[in-house]
């Protein structure tokens, strides 16, 4: 297929995945910031939310001297047209990309994205009229965003031909998802570091559950480990567990699979296949104990760098 079309599909999926992730980060941060102070609310939850979304610098550049409070951060993450990663921009860009490759999408996918975009317009109109978005309206908006990504994911899975179009959109989704998971770990790694606190009595408990909620893994955690929430297991779940659909390992299994399908169909492999396979190999041979010993922060930083390089490799090999 056309490189440009493949690029559109890749980014369409990335933007919708990102919108979903940012919506979850906001949800989880709201829960955290509403906790009584005795539960360890440090007052920096909204700053972390910006960092988890990877837009802290952009925020502070635009809002000089302003403290990252709830209203400002939510506005920036959700509706700010000047923030390239705001949810409204993600949906807007997803639709722009979708329009560009309209014929590569199935009817179901296109209608899903287009109605999401129309819904976004309605939200914005209402908001312009009332000049402010109350928390209730925001809650509705965030759950709408999550519905949108569910719809996109489900409709592409159910209706797309398994060819280039499908593989590139899946690649976008998993590269973005790996980036998101790694980012939230990077921002929160300090609460995951081992401490000798009493089990169940830790003030960080709600930080850990917030991480799990942000990647919709709260119930899954219990099914995998069948014990109370332990920080190193949270890291294990999100980094190494192949059965956890947002873990780095799972993302890379999918990336390798879809890149292999591409390679097979094109009769040719390249730098992105090699790079992805090497990353997966490292993840598969890793143990969470070793990661903690040699530094969780260093591990994640290196991963984010690697993942970005994969994005570049895919772009160079296929999308330009």
């Amino acid at each position: 297929m056309l490189s440009r079309a493949a690029d559109n599909l890749f980014w369409l999926a990335r933007y919708l995945e990102r919108a979903d992730y940012i919506a979850r980060v906001i949800d989880a941060t709201q829960r955290l910031s509403a906790l009584p102070r005795a539960y360890g609310g440090a007052g920096t939850e909204w700053e972390s939310a910006l960092e988890s979304a990877g837009v802290a610098d952009a925020f502070h550049e635009r809002n000089k001297d302003a403290k990252a409070d709830e209203q400002g951060v939510v506005e920036f993450l959700v509706f700010d047209a000047g923030n390239p990663s705001s949810i409204r921009n993600c949906i807007d860009l997803a639709r722009t990309n979708a329009r560009a490759v309209r014929t590569a999408l199935t009817m179901e996918m296109w209608e899903g994205i287009n109605s999401a975009w129309l819904e976004l317009r309605r939200f914005e109109e209402r908001r312009d009229k009332d000049c402010v978005t109350d928390l209730e309206e925001l809650g509705r908006f965030l759950s709408f965003v999550k519905q949108t990504s569910l719809h996109f994911d489900g409709s592409s899975n159910r209706t797309m031909l398994r060819n280039d179009a499908y593989w590139f959109s899946r690649l976008g989704l998993y590269v973005e998802r790996a980036d998101n998971t790694a980012r939230i770990l990077d921002v929160k790694y300090h609460v995951l570091l081992p401490e000798t606190e009493k089990i169940g009595g830790s003030l960080d408990y709600f930080q850990w559950t917030a991480i799990l909620r942000a990647v919709s893994a709260h119930t899954s955690y219990h099914w995998v480990y069948r014990q109370g929430i332990q920080p190193w297991l949270v890291a294990d779940l999100l980094i190494l567990r192949p059965e956890m659909p947002r873990s780095l390992t799972s993302c890379y299994e999918n990336i390798v699979r879809h890149l292999d399908s591409l390679g097979l169909s094109h009769g040719r492999q390249g730098a992105s296949q090699r790079h992805a396979r090497a990353t997966l190999g490292r993840l598969e041979n890793e143990k969470i104990e070793t990661i903690f010993q040699s530094g969780l922060h260093e591990f994640i930083t290196a991963f984010i760098h690697d993942n970005t390089r994969l994005g570049t490799a895919i772009a160079e090999q296929y999308l330009t």
Binding site: R31, A34, L135, G139, H222, Q227
Partner: protein, 471 residues
């Protein structure tokens, strides 16, 4: 006499902890509340949190009415309540270990022996068997009422299979979705860690023969049980299998579940089945819900049941009347939570008094639960009182009587707007090897009819979210 209202003082001002909520309610138009109530109902339907009422053919899946106005405790009030709960549940566990062990309390004459031995929930088979860490009641639901802003009264102890905790958790989730602005303003202590605390409790009481990574399951009678939703909800939150009796079998006094990978040993069973139905070989032979041989495996010390078999002997309404003495006997302390004054109809003087004052009293069956088979004097007709008096005379041992307490009221959203309704409160107390825990919250039940004192969900009562807040 007007009942104590938890929000509004007699002079019309709001109590300190309710001040922000009262201001918000004043400003909230009733259409807003109506629309949120509809949303709440939709959410509960979608989650599937339903309740079956026995004897009601058309409503196998009914929603318990949910009231939007939360019930609030200040942290200071909560701390005192929590201390009282921990004290009481420790005493209950010591009482059970004693009754099925050395029987000191019976020999000391503090509790009459026949109340124990003739209790239908007493299990002589349990005598001489020690439970891991001496814990019998791992999960207790203690029903609490208030009549003023000082004391907490215990209405009854539920030491068998108390239910309702899923409502504590789901009510909170729904409230957070519907009223984000209120949570923003209040900083409510979270309850979401209850499943983790429960799992830690269950894993702390594994039998000695269990592996290092014990297997916990939730045992349900099945989907026709009134609390099935709760069973499945808890199993999911705990991340453990929800099993029915037919999923388990016993071999060589060990319990296994049938899985796709073959039999898997089970170490701890959080059972939501009554003693009678646990094991057709040991108890009711006609039980199809249980597991043949389970009780043998239990006595052999190869599986832990939570709660233990035979805990019903401590939560009946006759033993209840002795709780202040029981607490003093084991802990040497005065009870922090008060008992409702109670007439034991087994005592002739008390019976005579009760018969004379049926119109003012609440009379309950010693072993009843769920609000079935009780007489609420002030709301009963002459005929009902007459027929109840006959029952009392026949079997006085089966009944106790209490004054109709002026249960506290909470503002509740009804068709006439916000008005006061009577409430009670069921916190959930967990006892494990590492101590006794209570998450800051519980289930507030509310009588939805004006003036009614019956809060049981089987009798049309509703629920509220319960908040513990600072300040």
């Amino acid at each position: 006499m007007a009942a104590f209202d938890e929000m509004t003082l007699p002079d019309g001002k709001a109590r300190e902890v309710y001040r922000r909520l009262a201001r918000w309610l004043d400003g909230a138009p009733s259409e807003l509340l109506s629309s949120r109530r509809n949303q709440a109902e939709l959410l509960f339907r979608r989650i599937g949190i339903t309740f079956a009422v026995y004897g009601d053919k058309d409503a196998t899946e009914r929603l318990i009415p949910f009231d939007l106005v939360p019930r609030i405790f200040a942290r200071e009030e909560w701390r005192r309540l929590e201390q009282g709960l921990v004290q009481r549940v420790r005493a209950l566990n010591m009482f059970l270990a004693d009754v099925y062990g050395a029987r000191d309390i019976l020999r000391a004459g503090v509790v009459p022996s026949d109340l124990v031995y003739r209790n239908p929930h007493y299990r002589p088979e349990m005598v001489g068997h020690k439970m891991p860490h001496g814990i019998y009641v791992h999960i207790a639901g203690i029903d609490i009422v208030r009549v003023d802003d000082k004391d907490f009264y215990v209405l009854e102890d539920n030491a068998r299979t108390p239910s309702g905790v899923s409502y504590m958790l789901e009510n909170r989730e729904v409230m957070m979705r519907l009223f984000p602005e209120l949570f923003h303003a209040h900083r409510v202590a979270p309850v979401e860690n209850y499943p983790d605390a429960l799992l830690a409790t269950l894993r702390s009481v594994t039998p000695g023969t269990a592996s290092a990574d014990p297997t916990v399951v939730v045992l349900t009678p099945g989907q026709f049980n009134s609390a099935y939703y709760e069973h499945s909800f808890l199993a999911d939150k705990l991340g453990v299998e929800l099993v029915e009796g037919r999923d388990l079998f016993v071999r060589d006094d060990m319990v296994f579940m049938r899985t796709t990978e073959g039999p898997q040993r089970v170490d701890v069973i959080y059972r939501r089945i009554d003693d009678d139905f646990l094991d057709p070989l040991a108890f009711r032979a006609d039980s199809t819900l249980g597991v043949p041989g389970l009780f043998g495996a239990y006595l052999a010390g190869n599986v832990t049941l939570a709660n233990a078999v035979g805990t019903g002997v401590c939560d009946d309404k006759a033993i209840y009347t002795y709780m202040p003495e029981i607490i003093r006997f084991y802990l040497g302390e005065d009870a922090i939570l008060r008992n409702v004054p109670t007439w034991r109809c087994r005592e002739p003087d008390a019976l005579a008094y009760v018969l004379d004052h049926l119109g003012e009293l609440v009379v309950k069956e010693v072993n009843g639960s769920g609000g079935y088979g009780m007489l609420v004097g002030p709301h009963a007709s002459k005929g009902e009182i007459r027929s109840f008096a006959a029952k009392l005379n026949d079997e006085p041992d089966k009944f106790i009587a209490q004054p109709t307490l002026p249960l506290s009221t909470c503002p509740t959203f009804s068709d006439e707007g916000i008005s006061a309704r009577h409430v009670d409160f069921r916190p959930f107390v967990l006892s494990g090897a590492d101590g006794v825990r209570v998450v800051p919250g519980g289930l507030t039940r509310v009588a939805m009819k004006a003036g009614s004192l019956v809060v049981n969900s089987s009798q049309g009562g509703g629920t509220k979210d319960t908040w513990v807040i600072d300040g």
